[in-house]
Amino acid sequence: MSTDVDAASDALAEVVERPTGLVRLVDRLSRRGSVSRRGLLVGAAVAGSALATDPKAYALMPQTAYATICGPGNTASSGWTIFCATINKGVNGCPSGSFTAGWWKAADSSWCGGGYRYIVDCNAKCTRCSTGCSDHLCDSRCWNCSCTRGSTATCDQRVNCCNAFRYGQCNTQVKCSGGVHCRVVSCVAPYKWENCSTTSFRSDATAEHSSPYLPQWGPMEQLYVAMGGQRSYLHASAGPIRTTIDGTAKYVNYQGGRIWWTSATGASAMSSFVLDRYADFGGPAVLGYPRGARTTGLRDGGWVQLFQKGCMTDSASTTTHSVSGYRWDMWLASGRENGPLRYPVAEMETLPGSAWIQRFQKGCIVFSPATPRAIVHNYAWAAWTEVGREGGVLGFPTGDRVVIARGTTQAFQRGGLWGLEAARMYAVHGDVLDAWLAAGGPGGGYGFPTAHVVDHGNGSQTGVFEGGTITA
């Protein structure tokens, strides 16, 4: 089945540039039976939005693809009501002063992947007066909107706030209302996201009505539907599908976030909060595009959203941060939030000399041009911090912590940290380090350090070890 749909889609794509052949193709494919009308429309939606919306009109009439976006009956004389997205700053939701008053559905809509499309009327409230309510609709002078013909600035030139009608399944506690201000659409039944009855009415004539401000069917809308449409944290769409300036990604803005799509990542949603932080953290240039939904329920109430080049993450004990590039690779390899570093507590910080560090709850990932990227964590992190971190006596780490007999060690530019297993680590450096190593280091008679080497400021240092003290 999918092969047939794909074939149909490919065939449609092939003739997009040759519209005169399109009618024959649509008819042939529809008659063939191997591709359902629904499947054909799905394929057409992929092949081209205009084509999908009104393929015959696109093929037969000398008009642009843009004009066919709005579907049939798009002029004021048709009598149909305009889409809210057209008059509500792109938002596919009821404008202020109107409310969800009723709905119907239309079958075989290319705007919903060939499935049912739900059209929801937003009726005006009777805010200016309450006369005329004997038949549940107040006089038009009471409505908080005025009847106008759609602007010619868009192809959705239908009437705005003119039809005194109510479908009547939603918000029935409102006894008296104004007429239809505008129409909202959804591929999710409105009783799943609004205060509406499940009583279904049907009028297929409106299946292809639309607005240039509504997102067309595709992977992003499919994800939106799977998330519950308007019921999801995304709420209503706030514009059509847009393409990034560099052309690498498409996106749809919603009241509560955004859905991204790239050929490499597919469609992924993010909340407005994450979107804002994503921008703060450098956006696609730093993190790439999202590859999946935010995953919650992690350690310490945390969440993570993965991107092509990193992630954004947060927990109950931390604030939202990103981890990207080499740092992401290393954090991931170390076990991410379940590894020794736990969650990030800061963004990457640049250090003098083109070095950098990113701090985590229990450590850091650090790099300098003279040393490799390394992780310093737990007791090593505590000890390194105590002795002044990269600006202290040890300098930058030259490798990760390694396990040795009875304990662990981590090497730094000017010394190292040693500690017994599951115990504090201590810095050993300078002449004391040389003498200790000459005496066998932790495996020798002195054993492991029990304190940081102390510099007396007069050229001498003292190190205290399990088996004695070295002063050099």
Binding site: G79, N163, Q169, Y191, S200, R202, A205, G228, R231
Partner: protein, 185 residues
């Protein structure tokens, strides 16, 4: 006159008129391709109970002076476009007993139609010359909308009485009786 009865609704259909009393099958509406999508809860939220809600269809009565096409929208799309100046289309649409007797459906009894109730903008979409009226009401614990379209607003004084006679002939079995019969309304 011809009596038409079904779903606890009875109407007297004048000679020469056509009528249809249907309850659209929900099986003809589902499953949609979209209905088969698995709902996802990206934030790990519990499934929403509204996902378990299922659409319902309830009786719709259409009566018209003209022959009714095979496919007519519940509020007459597909039929009202063809009305001539002397034609009338009456629709009785049921909404469900859960909505009856309160709010929008608080009014009791089938309304009496009068020419003054009709307006040219009283339809889902305005069609030049047509005229319509809409009333929400309850009878016997059942919620309805009476939607009437005239072929010509200017001739409403002559055509509204015809529609009013049809509306006045409506008899509706109470919801409790229907429930005892095992019919959900």
């Amino acid at each position: 006159m011809m009596r038409r009865t079904g779903y606890g609704i009875t109407v007297e259909v004048p000679v020469g008129w056509s009528a249809a009393l249907v309850r659209r099958s929900t099986s003809s509406d589902t499953p949609s391709d979209l209905d088969r999508f698995d709902a996802v809860t990206p934030d790990g939220a519990a499934p929403d109970p509204r996902d378990q809600l299922a659409e319902r269809t309830l009786p719709v009565l259409h009566v018209s002076t003209r022959p009714l096409p095979e496919t007519v929208g519940d509020f007459g799309s597909g039929a009202v476009e063809a009305l001539g100046p002397e034609d009338v289309f009456v629709a009785l649409i049921e909404y469900g007993s859960d909505l009856a007797d309160t709010g929008l459906f608080e009014r009791q009894g089938v309304p009496r139609l009068a020419p003054s109730q009709f307006g040219t903008n009283r339809m889902p979409r305005e069609i030049v010359g047509r005229s319509a009226s809409q009333h929400f009401f309850s009878v016997g614990g059942r919620a309805f909308c009476l939607f009437t379209v005239l072929g010509s607003h200017s001739r409403r004084m002559g055509t509204v009485p015809k529609a009013a006679a049809v509306a006045a002939s409506l008899q509706i079995v109470p919801a409790a009786t229907m429930h005892r019969r095992g019919v959900s309304v």
